[in-house]
Structures are given as structure tokens and as C-alpha cells.
Symmetry: C2
Subunit: 892 residues, 2 copies
């Protein structure tokens, strides 16, 4: 009576009486369609769409997401009118199917599934076989003539309802089943007969009652309404909330509820169940692919007790069904214009489709399918470009583990550089080099790496570090080399002295095999077989399409002629960042560099630098040659000097001997170079200001190399980049010194080359005063690694400790060292570009931080009007694709 | 003929023929006045003004700064018409004085002096006695009947002309004079007779010829024009350019040139010379003060051969001249409304004023004079406020060295905390404490200080560090304590083992006396007598006037009840920054803190924190009591945890024993806390996110203390400040946790207090997203130390190495850790305030970095609309005055 009065009063809510909460599908006609995902959820919309396409789908109805929203508006009460609409649709369903809900004769059983507009695996599970009770189960026995089947269905229903709807801990049910099997001395569920299962049902009901303090509901209407309640409630459970937060799913009304007639694949030899893909999801080949099992339910396939048969076999077993399925495959693929992942059930010779969705696929398959579908005129080139997740290309560019291999994970770190690697553990760079020379494949394991380790990193198959983030030295260098790296693996405790590490309870010694998955961060014990990178013609076609669409140029970060060549093969259109410091470590170079550092005065420094000049010039000549015709941006010396001197006593003594100076001198120099925060210390252009002779030598080496190569007919476009600039005066002072050097070289060489002098924008202040700096700088390259570090105040080498918490607690949506923080760092970038171009209209702007290879960041760079992005060689194809997608997304 | 043609052609330049380049003064009438500083320079304008006031000034004329500018426009040629105007004015001068330039009879001699609109000690010196040659000197002998005088004048002229105009190295002239005295076996110049000097003149001329390859010019017109050229040229010499760059002197046309009749104080017993001040420049007492010497020149006073007499004596010696001088004193002070510093010469019974300017004075005198002049109705209160340079108040607030003491400087560091201190050297904090307990005065000498040294810093008279900048730990803490500190003294090399340090060639051992001048950065060997701080009633009056004008509130940075009391005495209107970490070091506290750090899980941490709770609460209760009625902003724990654990092996063993745990555990923990860049590491609110129990304990301690004190009748206004926030989510997460704690305390205590929760804006990103953060934060306090570090990318502990270069080379105008960088950091501050107040109109905004006590920064804070600045207790009066000046300057 009370509710009657309320609704009669005509409150705002009572008006919704007339609102439609439920959409029916069945018998070739559905009230919804695929476009109604927001209202019906993904699953509901696709079921409706298939129904409308004339595909056999078990009839059912979908309760809308609006109903879920209204449920919350009303303090967890059903929307007015929902109960009537559910009842009406249930009636319609009974009529359509010729079955009756809750009836012993011809009983209608239903499944209930949640389904939001976005895929949300964190939400409620499915409840199957709803509608059973001790009465109905008898009807089912009669109808199916299969007592065991009926009791098993009942048993499963109680378990699912108890677990999913009433939150009775699942282990209690499992315990009963295990005990039963133990008593009978059998191993598998299938070994239980009807009587056994009947007893299980009895025990299940008791467990249910013990935990819920009520009897298991025998009224199917109560079962249904409680389950719908549970689905609604699941929308706001902590798991689902967390999932939405983490995946940035916003603006959804709620979940839909799908109530659908049960069909059974385990009703005998003319029944079966299967999963199929409209094309091969591993290879992309346009061949109908899948697996099926006769007289089985979906669960049985998963349980792995019987091996499913390949779909082709169905042609022999049930040729008509197979033909019907082939037609459905064609219809659905043509309809959705994408490879479909379908579930089907055959119930006593009749085929039902239970689900269709765009299928997951390997990167290799994704590329092939996209290119094929363009050839088949099914989709446009633009669509093909948009279909590939750029990061998935990593699978094509790096080795991967053979998916058939078994793996024993012992730790997990950050996926710092993609790929798969396997080898024997060594604990220092020298060992890595000497073992590799002897033909061993090794994995270099370090607490952290430093520039001195580069040789060993080169020699190793992969690198594992215990400390450091996604942009630590190990990570950055490994990505540059295209080498697999797992970084910041905190679970690994390394003892250099004993040459061993522990991970949990596992002890790994020098020479033991481990394997790394740089794409997931996983570390495995032992050898795991890898598969080499596989390119294809389709990949090149797709890349060409992307190139024709994108506006951004893609450059690469490369410090060596070899890297330059690799990057060029991957499509790099220039070097955006050539780090000169890596050139100071090999062989004699480090000796001359150290002489310079130890020097007391300018003359001594110049003498040491004179030794480095020809070496650097030679490097640049080779790089210019590799990049013939393309611009090469060279960053002058950036890291603090302490990175070039040894910190351990033994190495210091070695250095003293090599340089013929007292070790005390070296100790004192190293001590004087110590900094509390080297990141914010004496580095970058600050070194150039204190020791002008250093940058002068580098400018000379660059321009001499350029002049020499020009004479050889090579087209050179050197761009000299001053790092760490924060004020206009810093830049103009250094630039004017360089101009003098450059003019002098031109006179000496009696030739000239075009060149530019520009700067990194990596200090927040530089972005704030970009308008001033652009008065003198001819290009900007945003160094987003350092810019992110300083804008957030996060040291990339130290932030690992709290960044994980930050992302888990949702304080940060993404690791800002992986994807540009558009709100904060992005504000500085926008400011820098706007103000810079106000001063200098044609200012060339790019990015050379690690973000240059991150698809989301590439999209951002496009949106703010940069001219290019620069990334490590192996990410060039990813950036090319992402840049094209950025254009297409903004068009849409 | 050629020039005639040019000027007749009527080119742009020839039009300036009619322009006036020269202004005459003499005989009670001048063509210029004091307002024409830009055109006539400071000196020229004041000479004109005095002339117009009827004060006896030797006649002369001033060549304008425009003439200097035109000189450069014309490629270092005199402006058209200047020669004619100089000639005409010279004629006028001859007529006025009844003398003749270059004539043997009654010769006119002149002085030539540069003089720009701004005082520029880096420019050209003076040339005196110009107009002498071998002929004129004879006339001078006849006229003065003093042969020695005449030859001495000639000698001085050649030396000055040679040195200043022709750049003949001064030492050559000095060498001749020295040799002469050696030959004669005399000591002083005055012991040379006329003949000796005549010979010196001969030798000087030869030196001149050797160095310039021309004869010493005998034509007085040539002497004059060369000297004027030299003055013009001196405007652009490197010294002058550097000086202008460093002192930010811009927009000046050039220098003026003052040509003035020579008068001589050494023409016999009715001649003399002196310097006087219209009030006492040391004490400010309104008493005519000065010194004079009869029969002497200015140089003689400086040479210190004869002791000058106090001005009062002149009353007896030449009572009429004294009376005349008294009248001039009164006239000039009334005219300029400021204390005057005057130079006078009496030539044969006639008084001449050669200069007047506002006199330099001690801070003590400045305050007294300003207050007295208001009482005398000479100036307004506003003027009085503007007259005192805020930083000069340091002299009043800290001890100073007795100016009479002789000092031997051995090194110079940064003037990190003002004041003067003397004591015995100790090399660690423990020694400082124990020696002080035994009654010794000590200076604590450290490579750098850390929080563990606080006790020793307290016990010491002053602190000297070899490393670290103006905002290093030592500097910040010392300023907070009002204790003298010289930091970053790189010339000092410390050997802790030997307990000694070297500075240049000086070796200083433990127990040796040194003295520090924290206001200049100088380090002296031995004991130097100090004078205590001296307050006065006038100081209080001035401060009250300032308070009535200023809009900014002045708060203080104080961590202890004692600091709070001192600051309140100095006029602090609240605490803007109470750093809670300093509360964790004393006695038992550090033990509990370390227990917390060693804890493996939340329970253990909470147990350790429970021990800290009552201690913190007690601290806060005392601080609330000290600041009864005023707001107290408490910053939650900020520094990284490694600051609380010992890093040296011995201390780690001690800790292990004290805590009864294996030392290995401590070593491992300390190692795990190591960070590459602690500045950008796990600190501030990042600790609060990882260990919520820590901030919860602190919030509880604050609110419990507030409730307890409220019950005792004390008015409490706690403001809880979350440090290092960079994102809104960080802040809102922590705030919501705190709100729960606070509500719980209110329930337990059955009372409530008003409180605010706000944040530091010290991460660049926080300023960029301030609009979002203000959704939740009730106040902003700009932490400009860290904001400057991150905006520039300068670690304050490491930047010393290059900051000095940067300032010397003019890349930075000022140390950005001393004065807010308005262009870069300032842009973030403006952005933060604007965006913050867009979201929250009544957002309270302040600053709590070290900049809060820097006058230029205080002015900036006023200009951007902050509500308050907070600074160390001893800078509160400075900030009060600066805040008032900020208002008055913007009014003007």
C-alpha cells in the first residue's frame, strides 16, 4: 500500500514507471542492437545484433544500465516498473522457447550475466542453470533422460549462486566435492554418478544454510531477483571500483544484466560446444580456426580432461552444423569488419551462438589481418592503421618466448626493455664480455648499471637490475640497444662478493641459467626457448600506409653508427638525440677523459681534450655517413664528471697506475666530484660554462666532421644541442663561444656547412622562459625524462620505491616516466612551444626523452604541434604507427 | 676647412651644433641643478645645486652625459660643437676666477672628474692640477711663494695624467719616488724638498715618454682634451661594464665630465682641508661631526702621517670659518632633508665646498637619524621608513666586530648567517657541546653539517662549513638560531682525523682561535673583539611605523618554543613554518624514530610512533602556548628517512647495541635507504602515502595538543601543512585520512578547535596544477627553497661549485637561493596564486622559504598579493620593514 501511495503522488521517480528497463531478443528479432552498448552493455548489444542478423541465439532479455543507475538512485531498490517488465519478458521468453520457468514439465533454465559497456573482468561472474529446484530437477531428469546431467546441473547452480550471489566462500563447496571423491577413491568430477551428485546437492544446501542463515531459495523468481540484485550490487564492489579507477573507465551508468535461456552442449552425442575465430589469431591466416568438444560443456574444455578437436574435424562429425557455422562466420566478420571470436553450443543437433566479439590476436596476426582486410576491401587503410596497438609491434621487433615452453617465475621487475632472453648469470660487465667471447650466452645481473658497464651490456643477451626505474641507466641503454632488460627487480638480492643472488627462496649462482621477459618484467629460472623477431611484407605495407598519414617526423636516439643504421632501417628520419658521453668510455677515450678531469688548469684540460678531438670527429663522421641526407642532433656533454671516474678503491688504484699519478690525487678528485644530488648538480651546460674548452672541442669535432664528410659528397645537417639550459644568458654565452669556433673551422677547412644550434628544454625554468630562449635557440628538443623528474620532483633512479604505491593507490594514473603527464609536464611543454614560437615562428620542436616512443605520448606530441619525436631505434616503427593514429584519432 | 664644409651641409649630426653640451657653475649661479642627475651625473648636479644655494664652490663646468653618448655615436669623436663650448666655458671660468688657463701669471689649474648618474667606483679616477707645465709651474712658485708645493703639484699631475689618461703603469712612478727616498735615506714624501721633487718631475717625464712614445704634453688645452677623451673612454672599459652588469645599472647615457677650478688646502697656515657629517654617522646623534687638517691636502689625511683634529677644534682655530661651515651644514641638511657627507677646503682663509652627498651611516645611526628627522618635521614617516636598507638591520640584531680591531683574513666563504663570532676551533658536534659545557667559546668547523649536529651548533658561537650554499643545512639552521655562520668556504680544507684545517698557507688546529664574520663571509685567524647587538627605542618606533604601513603579515620559521618566543619578541605574527623533523633528534626521540624506521610492518611502526606521540604533543603544546592567539603552521615530516640513521660504521654499531639488534640489520636498512638524489626521492608527503601511520600520529599530536591548550584558555590556530605535494590526489588522500584522525580526537577530547589543512607549493607541478589542489587545500605556502631547486634544476648543496661562476659571468644577476628569481620561479608563483584563487577566492597564501626574509623577495611577495611571508626569527624585523617599503614603493 505504501509504495502504491508513493507512486500515485507522482513524484519525479514515479514518472519513470513508463520507462523501458528491459530489451528482449529472440526468434530473429531483438529490441536492441550493436549500437546500444551504452544502454545494453557490450554483451547484451552483441546478442541483440546477432539475433537481428538471423543468427541462432538462445532467446533472452537484457536489463538496461539505466536500471542499474536507478537502482542506486533509489538506495538499492529496483526501479519502479522493473519487476513488472522482468515478469512480462520472462513470459515472452517462455512463449518464445515453449518452456516454462519453474515448471517441472519442460522447465526453462536461464543464465544470468553482467555486462557493462566496457569490458570489466573485475565484475560479477556468471550464474548458470538458474531456475532449478528439487522439483524442477526431476522434470529435467525426465526431459533429458539423464539423471546424472540433471543433478550435476543443480549442483553447479547451487555452488554458483552461493558463491556469486550470497558470497559463501567457494572453498566450502570445493571441500565437499573433494571429500566425496576421496571417499569414493576417484579422481575426476565426471567419475561421480547421479547418486553421488544428489548427495553433494544435499550437502551444498546445508553449507548454504549454515553461511546465510536461510534455506536455499527454491522459488525460481526469488532466485532470479536475488541474482539481478547481486549483479547490480557488483557494479560498486571494491574490485570493480578499483578496476574502473585503474583503467580510467568513467561516465558509465552501471552494468546491464543479461538473462538468457540455457542451452546444453552435454546432452549427448549430438550436443557439443566450441570456440572459434574467423581467422587464425596466431598467424592471421584467413582460415576458419577453432576447437570443439562433443557432449561437453565449456567448463570441460577449460578443465583439460579431454582434448578438444580442431574445428576442421567438425566438418566430418556434423557437416551441416559446420556449414551453418561457416556461414555465420562470414556473416559476422562481414558485419563487424573484424576478426571474430565466437562461442557456440550445439544442443541435440541445434546450433546456438552464445557470444561474438572482436578477437584477440598476436601482433603478427593483427598486422596480417589488417592488411588482408584492406585488400579484401572490408576496411579502409585508415581503419587498418587504427587497428594495431602500436606497442604490440614490440612482439614483431624483438625475440619472444616460445609460448609452448613451461616457465618457472622467480621474480618480477619492471618491463624495462622488451624482448626475451636466456643465458648464464654473470655479475659484472667484464665477465659478461669475456664469457661472451668464449661463446657463452650470458645475462648480466647488476644492482644497477653505470656507463662503465656498456661493453658488458652489449655482450649480454639481456640485463637484470635490482634497482632503478623505467628510465634508469640500464633501461635507457638497453632500449637503445634493442636489448631485453628487466629493471628495478626488488625481489632480487645480489651479493657481488659471493657471485650469487636470491629471489624468494631461490638461490642463483654465477653460471646458472635464467631467462628474462623484458616485455612483462618476469624472471624465470633455467633456459626458456625463444623465437626470433619476425618481419613480414604486411608489416612494411602497414608502415607505409602509416607514413603517408602521419604529420610528425620520427627520429631516433642513437649514439653509434650501428644504432644509426638500425634506426634508419626501421624508418628513422634523422637522429633526434646523439649522446656524446657514451663516446667517452671505450678504450683510450676514458683515459683522455680522465686526464681532462684531473687537470688543474685550462692548458692541461685543453691538452687532454686535444686527444679526444680526433676520436670524436671520427665518430661523428661515421654517424653523418650513416645518416646521409638526414638531420643529426648532437647533444654536447651532459652527465656530471663523476660518472667518468672510478669509485671503487681497486679501480682507483688501477687508474692511478695507468695515469702514473698518486692514487691519493685520484681519491681526492673523486671525493671533490661527489654530489648530494648529481641530478641537480654540476652537469649539462653548467660544465660548458665552467670549462668552455670542453664544448669548444666538441663543436669543433662536429663541424670538422661535417666539413670533411661534405667534401666526400655526403649530405650533412648537424644540429648542435646544448643540454640543461635554464636561462637565455647561459645559452647565448655558450652559443657565441661556439660560433667563434665554428667560423674558425670554416676558415681552416675553406668550406661551410649548414648547421643549427638549439637546446634541450628539460629544466622547468627553460619552459617558463622559452620565449626568451627562442631569441637565440634555433630549435627546442623537450628532454621529457629530466623535465618529468624536475616537474614532479621525482628522481627516476629512486622513485621506484613509491611510484608503485602511487599507481596502485590511483594517485597517478600512469608512470609519468612512461607516458607524458599531460596535466603538469604537458602544461610546461605547451607553454614552451607557444612562447617559443611567439618569438620564433619557424622554431623546430621535438621531443627526445624516452616518451618519444610511447604511443600515448606521441599522440600528445602531435596534438601540441611538435615537428618530430625521437625514440630508441627499436621503437621507431611504434612511433610511426602511433603518429599516424594520432592524426586519424583527431580526424574522427 | 673640412669640418666647416661638413657642418654646412646640414647633416643630422651637424644639426646638433646648436645642442648644449656644457653647463657652467660659479659665482652663486649654475646652469644646472640637483634634478639634472641624468644629464650632469650625480657629482655635477650636486655642485650646481650647491652653487645655486649660494654655497662657496670652486667654479667650473660639467660636460653632459649626452656628450658622452654622442662621442660613442660618432665613433669616439667629440660631438660637433663641444670643442667650442669647452673653450667658451673655459673663458668664462677664467673671467669668474680672475685666473688664466696655461698662463704663467695667475695660472688657472683645474681638476677633471668623471661622474655618472649612478655611483660607479669602477670608473676613471680623478686628474688634479691639470694646466701645469714647466712654464706655469714657475708662475705657481711665484704666486704661492712655495717652491716645494708647486713642484709637488706638478709631480702629482704627471703621475695622475700618466696613470689615468695614458695608462702608464702606476708602479713605474712609485718606483722613482721610492728610489729617491731611499737615496736620501728618508721615509716620507714630505721629507723630499723642492729640488728632489723637481728631479722627480724630470724622471716622471722620461717614464711618460718611454711608455707613450710621446713627450708629456705641455699645452694645457691638449692636456684637457686628452683627459676628457679618457673620461669618455672610461665609460666603456671592461671594469666599468662589469660593474654596471653586476649592479644591474642600465639605461644610462654615459658619464659626465666635471672640470673645476683647483683650490689648495696646503697653501699655509690659513689653509686646510676636511671632511664633515651633518650628524654623527656612527651614532646618529644630531651633532656636527668631522675632522680637518690645517695646511694639508686630502691625500695627507688618507696617508695617515698627521692625525686630523676633530671638527670642534676648528671653532678655536678659525671661528669664522667654523660658523660659516655650520650655516652651510644647516642649509644643506635642510635642503636635502638627509644627513650630508661634505668635503671642504680652506685656501688662504677662504672656505670652499668640494662635494656634498647623502652620508653613509651605521644601521644604528640610520634608524636614529630617520626617527629624529621625523620628530624635527624634516621628513615624513614614509620617507623615514624608506631610508633604511632592511638588510642593514642585521647590524642591530647581531653582534658585530669592533671596527677598531685589526683582523687577519685567512679565507672567505658565503655570508650564510649574519653576525660576528670568535672562539676555539672544534671539529665535531660532540666536542662543541662538551667544550662549551666547560665554559669554552667554540667555533664548530665541519665539511658540512647534518641534523645530528644541531646540539653542537647550538653550543657553538659560530659555524664554519667547507661545503654547501646559502640554503645548506648549516646556513638554514644557523639563521634560524640567529647564529653566525660562514658556509661553503671552499678555501678551507678539513682533515677530521688530524683535527686540523688548512686555509691557503695557514694551518689551524683544534683549540686555535678563529673569528667569523657571518655578514661578509670572512674568516679571521685569532680572537677579534665583538660588540653585542644594540636595540634602541628609535628602532621600536620605526618598526611601529612600518607595521602601520605594510599589508603583508610577517610570520616566522620556528621549531622550538624558544625560537617562537624570540620571533614573537621580534614582532612575528604567527609561525609560518614549524619543521617537525627537528623534533626527532634529541634524546630518546631519535631512538623511537629509528625503531620506526627499522620496523618491518605497520604494527611495529605504530608501536614506535606511539612513543613519539606524547613527545610531539608536548612540543606542540609549548609552541601553541608561546604563540597564544597567533596561527601556527606545522609541516608534517619532510626529510628522507636516511637522515635519521647513522651512516658511519661506529655509529651504526652503537645504534645496534642501543636497540639490541644485529648491526647487519642496521647496515642493510641504511643501504636500502640510500638514494641517488635524495632531494627528489622518498620524502615529504610520499612518506605519508607509504606510511600513513606517520602522518596520522603527527596529526593526532597536533590536534590533541591544540585541544589540551584550548582547555587551558590558550587561543590555538593550528594549520597543518602537507609538504611536497605534486598532485591533487596526493593531497586529498592524505587529507581524508587526517580528517578521520582529527574527528576521532575531537570525540575523545569532547572539544573542537579551528584548524586548517593546506600544503606547501614547492614542486613545480604543484604550481602548474594549483587550481586543482586548491579544491582541497585551504592554504598555500610557497616553499621557495625547493621550488627554486627544482625549477632551476640546482641542488642547493651542490650548486656552490658553479653558482659563483654564474653570478660572476653575469648569467644570473643574483643567487636565486637568496632572492626569488622573478622571471622563472616567480612565473610559477604568480601562476600558482592566480589559479589557486580562481578555485578558492579566500585562499591564504604565504611563503616559507628562506626568501621570506630577503627584502627584494618580500617586495615581490607583496606585489603578487601574498598574505604573509615567513622567515627566521632574526629576520622578522627586516621583513617587517621590507614589507612596508614594498607598499610605499608601489605608491610612489
Amino acid at each position: 500500500m505504501a509504495t502504491m501511495t508513493k507512486s500515485k503522488l507522482g513524484s519525479k521517480k514515479s514518472k519513470s514507471v513508463s520507462k523501458r528497463w528491459v530489451y528482449f531478443f529472440g526468434n530473429g528479432k531483438a529490441e536492441g542492437n550493436a549500437k546500444m552498448k551504452q544502454l545494453l552493455g557490450g554483451k547484451g548489444a552483441n546478442l541483440a545484433e546477432m539475433t537481428n542478423l538471423g543468427i541462432p541465439v538462445p532467446a533472452g532479455f537484457t536489463i538496461t544500465t539505466e536500471a542499474c543507475a536507478e537502482f542506486y538512485n533509489r538506495g538499492k531498490k529496483w526501479p519502479v516498473g522493473l519487476d513488472a517488465q522482468v515478469e512480462a519478458n520472462l513470459k515472452k521468453l517462455e512463449t518464445t522457447m515453449g518452456l516454462k520457468f519453474g515448471s517441472r514439465d519442460n522447465p526453462l533454465l536461464v543464465s544470468v550475466r553482467s555486462g557493462a559497456a566496457a569490458s570489466m573482468p573485475g565484475m560479477m561472474d556468471t550464474v548458470l542453470n538458474l531456475g532449478l529446484n528439487s522439483d524442477v530437477v526431476q522434470g529435467l531428469i525426465i526431459k533429458t533422460e539423464n539423471e546424472r546431467f540433471a543433478w550435476d546441473a543443480y549442483r553447479r547452480f547451487i555452488q554458483m549462486f552461493g558463491d556469486v550471489v550470497m558470497e559463501v566462500p567457494r572453498e566450502h563447496f570445493e571441500h565437499v566435492l573433494d571429500k566425496k571423491k576421496q571417499q569414493l577413491g576417484v579422481k575426476n568430477d565426471v567419475d561421480l554418478n547421479a547418486n553421488d551428485l544428489k548427495d553433494v546437492v544435499r550437502q551444498y544446501k546445508k553449507i548454504y544454510q549454515d553461511h546465510t542463515s536461510e534455506e536455499f531459495p527454491s522459488d525460481p523468481m526469488v532466485q532470479l531477483s536475488k541474482t539481478i540484485d547481486a549483479v547490480f550490487n557488483s557494479w560498486n564492489n571494491p574490485r570493480a571500483n578499483k578496476y574502473r579507477e585503474l583503467n580510467d573507465i568513467r561516465g558509465l551508468l552501471g552494468t546491464a544484466v543479461n538473462v538468457q535461456t540455457m542451452v546444453f552442449g552435454n546432452m549427448g552425442d549430438t550436443s557439443g560446444t566450441g570456440v572459434c575465430f574467423s581467422r587464425n589469431p596466431s598467424t592471421g591466416v584467413n582460415h576458419f580456426y577453432g576447437e570443439f568438444l562433443m557432449n561437453a560443456q565449456g567448463e570441460d574444455v577449460v578443465a583439460g580432461i579431454r582434448t578438444p578437436q580442431p574445428l576442421d574435424e567438425l566438418k566430418k562429425v556434423m557437416p551441416e552444423i559446420y556449414q551453418q557455422l561457416c556461414k555465420i562466420r562470414e556473416k559476422l566478420e562481414n558485419h563487424y569488419c573484424d576478426m571474430q571470436d565466437m562461442e557456440f553450443t550445439i544442443q541435440q543437433g541445434k546450433l546456438y551462438l552464445l557470444q561474438t566479439r572482436n578477437g584477440k590476436r598476436t601482433a603478427h596476426a593483427a598486422v596480417k589481418i589488417a592488411v588482408d582486410m584492406v585488400k579484401e576491401k572490408m576496411i579502409s587503410k585508415d581503419k587498418a592503421i587504427l587497428r594495431i596497438a602500436p606497442n604490440d609491434l614490440n612482439q614483431l621487433l624483438h625475440p619472444t618466448f616460445d609460448p609452448k615452453e613451461k616457465k618457472q617465475a622467480i621474480a618480477k621487475g619492471l618491463p624495462a626493455s622488451p624482448g626475451a632472453a636466456t643465458g648464464k648469470v654473470v655479475f659484472n660487465a667484464d665477465d659478461a664480455e669475456s664469457w661472451a667471447k668464449n661463446g657463452e650466452k650470458v645475462i648480466l645481473v647488476r644492482i644497477e648499471t653505470s656507463p662503465e658497464d656498456i661493453g658488458g651490456m652489449h655482450a649480454a643477451q639481456g640485463i637484470l637490475t635490482a634497482r632503478g626505474g623505467m628510465t634508469s641507466h640500464a633501461a635507457v641503454v638497453a632500449r637503445g640497444m634493442g636489448k631485453c632488460c628487466v629493471a628495478g627487480c626488488e625481489g632480487v638480492h645480489i651479493d657481488y662478493n659471493k657471485k650469487e643472488f636470491t629471489a624468494g627462496n631461490t638461490m642463483v649462482r654465477e653460471g646458472d641459467y635464467i631467462s628474462l621477459n623484458g616485455s612483462t618484467g618476469e624472471v624465470y629460472l633455467g633456459q626458456v626457448k625463444t623465437i626470433d623477431a619476425q618481419f613480414s611484407g604486411d608489416f612494411s605495407i602497414l608502415m607505409k600506409w602509416a607514413d603517408s598519414v602521419r604529420k610528425l617526423n620520427i627520429r631516433t636516439n642513437a649514439d653509434t653508427p650501428l644504432d644509426s643504421q638500425i634506426a634508419r632501417k626501421f624508418g628513422a628520419e634523422g637522429i633526434g638525440l646523439c649522446r656524446t658521453e657514451h663516446m667517452f668510455f671505450e678504450g683510450d677515450r676514458i683515459v683522455a677523459m680522465r686526464e681532462m678531469i684531473l687537470a688543474d688548469n685550462k692548458e692541461q684540460r685543453e691538452k687532454a681534450l686535444a686527444k679526444l678531438l680526433p676520436i670524436q670527429r671520427d665518430d661523428f663522421e661515421k654517424i653523418f655517413t650513416a645518416m646521409n641526407g638526414l638531420p643529426v642532433t648532437i647533444r654536447l656533454l651532459d652527465p656530471p664528471l663523476h660518472e667518468f671516474v672510478p669509485h671503487e678503491a681497486a679501480n682507483q688504484e688501477e687508474m692511478a697506475k695507468a695515469m702514473n699519478v698518486p692514487v691519493e690525487l685520484i681519491r681526492r678528485k673523486v671525493a671533490s666530484l661527489h654530489e648530494f644530488n648529481p641530478m641537480l648538480g654540476h652537469r649539462g651546460c653548467r660544465l660548458g660554462v665552467t670549462y668552455p674548452e670542453m664544448y669548444n672541442m666538441q663543436s669543433r669535432a662536429i663541424i670538422e666532421a661535417a666539413c670533411n664528410m661534405k667534401r666526400k659528397g655526403i649530405k650533412v645537417y648537424p644540429e648542435i644541442m646544448i643540454p640543461l639550459v635554464g636561462t637565455l644568458k647561459e645559452f647565448s654565452l655558450l652559443k657565441s663561444q661556439m660560433l667563434q669556433v665554428i667560423e674558425k673551422v670554416f676558415q681552416e677547412k675553406k668550406t661551410k656547412v649548414d648547421y643549427k644550434i638549439g637546446t634541450m628544454i628539460e629544466i622547468p625554468r627553460a619552459a617558463l622562459v622559452a620565449g626568451r630562449i627562442a631569441e637565440e635557440a634555433e630549435f627546442f628538443s623537450f628532454g621529457t625524462n629530466d623535465l618529468t623528474q624536475m616537474t614532479f620532483g621525482y628522481s627516476r633512479d629512486d622513485a621506484g620505491v613509491f611510484l608503485k604505491d602511487y599507481i596502485e593507490q590511483g594517485i597517478l594514473e600512469k608512470d609519468p616516466f612512461t607516458t607524458v603527464d599531460q596535466e603538469g609536464v604537458g602544461a610546461l611543454i605547451r607553454m614552451g612551444i607557444t612562447e617559443g614560437r611567439k618569438t620564433r615562428k619557424d622554431l623546430k620542436v621535438g621531443i627526445c626523452g624516452e616518451h618519444g616512443g610511447d604511443p600515448a605520448s606521441v599522440e600528445f606530441c602531435h596534438s601540441v604541434g611538435m615537428n618530430y619525436v625521437s625514440c630508441s631505434p627499436f621503437r621507431v616503427p611504434i612511433a610511426r604507427l602511433a603518429a599516424a593514429q594520432a592524426v586519424l584519432k583527431r580526424k574522427a
